[in-house]
Point group: D2
Chain length 290, copies 4
Amino acid sequence: MTTATLLVSCPDQKGLVAKISDWVFSHGGNILHADQHADSTAELFVMRVEWDLNDFVLAREEIAPTFEKLAIAIHAKWSIHFSDYVRRIAIFVSKQDHCLYDLILRQRSHELPAIIPVVISNHPDLEKVAHNFGINYHHIAVNPENKLEQEKKQLDLLHQYKIDLVVLAKYMQVLSPDFLSKFSQVINIHHSFLPAFAGANPYHRAYKRGVKIIGATAHYVTDELDEGPIIEQDVIRVSHRDSVTDLIRKGKDLERIVLARGVRQYLQNRVLVYGQSASSGLGLRTVVFD
Amino acid sequence: MTTATLLVSCPDQKGLVAKISDWVFSHGGNILHADQHADSTAELFVMRVEWDLNDFVLAREEIAPTFEKLAIAIHAKWSIHFSDYVRRIAIFVSKQDHCLYDLILRQRSHELPAIIPVVISNHPDLEKVAHNFGINYHHIAVNPENKLEQEKKQLDLLHQYKIDLVVLAKYMQVLSPDFLSKFSQVINIHHSFLPAFAGANPYHRAYKRGVKIIGATAHYVTDELDEGPIIEQDVIRVSHRDSVTDLIRKGKDLERIVLARGVRQYLQNRVLVYGQSASSGLGLRTVVFD
Amino acid sequence: MTTATLLVSCPDQKGLVAKISDWVFSHGGNILHADQHADSTAELFVMRVEWDLNDFVLAREEIAPTFEKLAIAIHAKWSIHFSDYVRRIAIFVSKQDHCLYDLILRQRSHELPAIIPVVISNHPDLEKVAHNFGINYHHIAVNPENKLEQEKKQLDLLHQYKIDLVVLAKYMQVLSPDFLSKFSQVINIHHSFLPAFAGANPYHRAYKRGVKIIGATAHYVTDELDEGPIIEQDVIRVSHRDSVTDLIRKGKDLERIVLARGVRQYLQNRVLVYGQSASSGLGLRTVVFD
Amino acid sequence: MTTATLLVSCPDQKGLVAKISDWVFSHGGNILHADQHADSTAELFVMRVEWDLNDFVLAREEIAPTFEKLAIAIHAKWSIHFSDYVRRIAIFVSKQDHCLYDLILRQRSHELPAIIPVVISNHPDLEKVAHNFGINYHHIAVNPENKLEQEKKQLDLLHQYKIDLVVLAKYMQVLSPDFLSKFSQVINIHHSFLPAFAGANPYHRAYKRGVKIIGATAHYVTDELDEGPIIEQDVIRVSHRDSVTDLIRKGKDLERIVLARGVRQYLQNRVLVYGQSASSGLGLRTVVFD
């Protein structure tokens, strides 16, 4: 079964569920899942609707232009996704292999509906892992002097491999605003329960503070370090017996699971970012549809 | 704002989301939340839709008969609930007071949109707790000989107090099938992670088995002991250091929270029971809409 | 059975477990629980040992002076506690009653081995709750002008009621360094997962940041706001559907449970604070013996 | 640093902590960790003590005979383990690879202090995984007719590879009592929260029962299916949206983590089995020292 998924956000107003459901139904679409949410603080309506394309009367290329008419009428931002388009992921790593293995193995066992054609790293260490699974590996060393130049090479690779999503799987470098302006779909795993311990060495700082629980956070990357919209978080209990080494070990399980969940939700078109609002003080937030 | 909430279940078919949304919209209802689910095993569609009654064109008494026409067409079971009708709860207890206090205090702090006019118990112990909060207390002792007779008195009280929901808040008696045939809306808290340790003395049996986690389960009461549809469950970690007394103490926190969540979800019309199916072996299950 | 519990911390060195165990055993004490921990960062050894006083050969008043000799030899800080001494708690509240009820009910059901002779508040609202349970209530309004003067009254009450521990059960005032210098045993519940959202309005800030999990933290109060040693933390999952009101409601369950656990661990003499170290950057931390 | 770890269980009596600590100390051992527990139901004392062998005055081969004298005096069962002996694990698998990959990768990243020389399977599917990591793979097909004969081959391999521990990493066969009588150190991962859904198809049965949480259990294998002593358990929340396929997917994360934790605790000599007692109805239980 091939499905289409529509993600819509617009100012809240009466009749939106019916209007959008109707648009699908009146063109022959059988709705499989519909979910929506109204954020009263942001006065915003968001909706995700997925339907079977089997009896849909619009040709693939007609769908967007046809929906655009409704979208204009309701002042909506929107995107549409087709289940037979398989996204292409570039995984960025440094030296740690646990998230890399985890993503590849989940992709291989069909948990992640995506293709992983390339791994990019600022270190040569994980080339063998990529090659074992038949994935290309590009080593692009980065230092403060050559950063922009090397990011240019990374962007060229993203273009060349037709990449839709970059996943930073313990990539220990900050992407520049310039990079992000040219490629915005980037998900990172941060090894703390944000906003606690944003920045460097979160496990060491968690140890020093004596917390009883540690966490990990999957989030979109934005210009502000560790301030991007949060997709997924989880935690694990620690005690005085746990050294920094133990926190790192326990945290690795969190990092794997939280990153994989975040990437999976993204690939299933369940994540919608909204909410920047200077007046209400609201930051960028995500709706993650179940 | 007064709202109506419709809970619908029917055989899965095309266009249900649009048909039901449209029915609401075309009568002037502004949909606040709509959620649905299709269970492919049971081939069943279930939907919850809540709308603002402010500009709704149907009078209160016209709503059900009008929707009934659509319901017949789609072969639906359904119920409708209005937010300005406040349900009336009878709490059944034995000797333990923790769930009783918890429910009363949550009701007092507006977490539970309900009225609690009466507490019924097979013991006299908790009369003072009820009276402290101005709630009537009826002591109806039950033994194997007088059970049916005493249940008759309980049922009379439920009628007299116009009760909508019975909550068994650590009521250590089994209700007879006869009772349940006359009053079916009963939620129980069982002090284990069902189906583990159904029946008597779950904490003692959990201790003997040496489990590392214990749980609690809020479920509807049916004729089969501890086999009713599950509404909510939660767990807590235990260790070899925990004696049976510790399991009981830790379990009390679970019982309070799990029962309160289950009752709240019920009161918000989020719980829909479905799924009995001899052919597929499926038991009665719940959808709990978020 | 009456027991003694010794909490010891000292520079790490060889033979400490044997020396301390031997001291107990050689005076006729039957060790019921012994637990210890060596923090290699702080180069510190900490131990908790609890023994049956039944056949102990030292009289109650001889125990401390006798152990002091060993303590001096190993350069230890230490304290000793007897199970037949029941600590006296003053609960400080403002307007919210959920933690107050929770602590009182746990004390009544023998989960908290303590006496609660007095509730002190900067508001009159919860007097009836205290009186229902036969507990004295003192309303001491506090504002920036009269703060030191009113804290003097609070300290007088602590003295008068022979208080051992102050529990801030949603007391929405900061205690001055002067107060803390005169009464240091103070446990607070903070309604966030520290160090995230220290300070005011944590739920509002959590909402604005769009976190997927919220938490609560029981900690000792020190001069630095929300920087005291952490005793206990726990978390609960939230989603985009949860408004600030929902975060507050869900958080109340966390606050109750986390505060109660922290206070119980304190009362069982399981909490030992250690670790301030400018050189290693280590903050004050707790060992919480299981 | 090389350490020795002693695991002791014996009837509870006075002075055991001091006697055992003293035995270590008086032979020059610096105790690094000591933990004990008294189970009042089983009237049993259990202790784990780990010490630095550096200044220990007994030669390696003298330790056991010397301790045996104390052990006889206190009627103890005991075992001793040296940190420089690296245990050898045989992993048994069928067709699923997630636990196999997980154990190998954790061993490679030094989370599991062990050697994995061999993988044994009743299917040929995972040979390539083993070979990728330089691990031998033996395919031994098993059916009801050839079972005992094939188990003989498995036992020969365990002998040949000098195996200390067998880990059933989703091995979909039951080991015979005969096998277990010849090789008793076997840890299994069961894909449910035992004792719920013991036996076959736990995810399908969990789905049919409509539970809101699923779990996994690492346990020792005994003659009674899924009745062996539990080492570790964990759970994850599910909802009506989760199909059986989703339960299987979510469960795989649990299986990986729970099995790895159980194996790690075993390898660190933290797990002690005790407690069979017909009179008290107590089953075999584990102490898992932190």
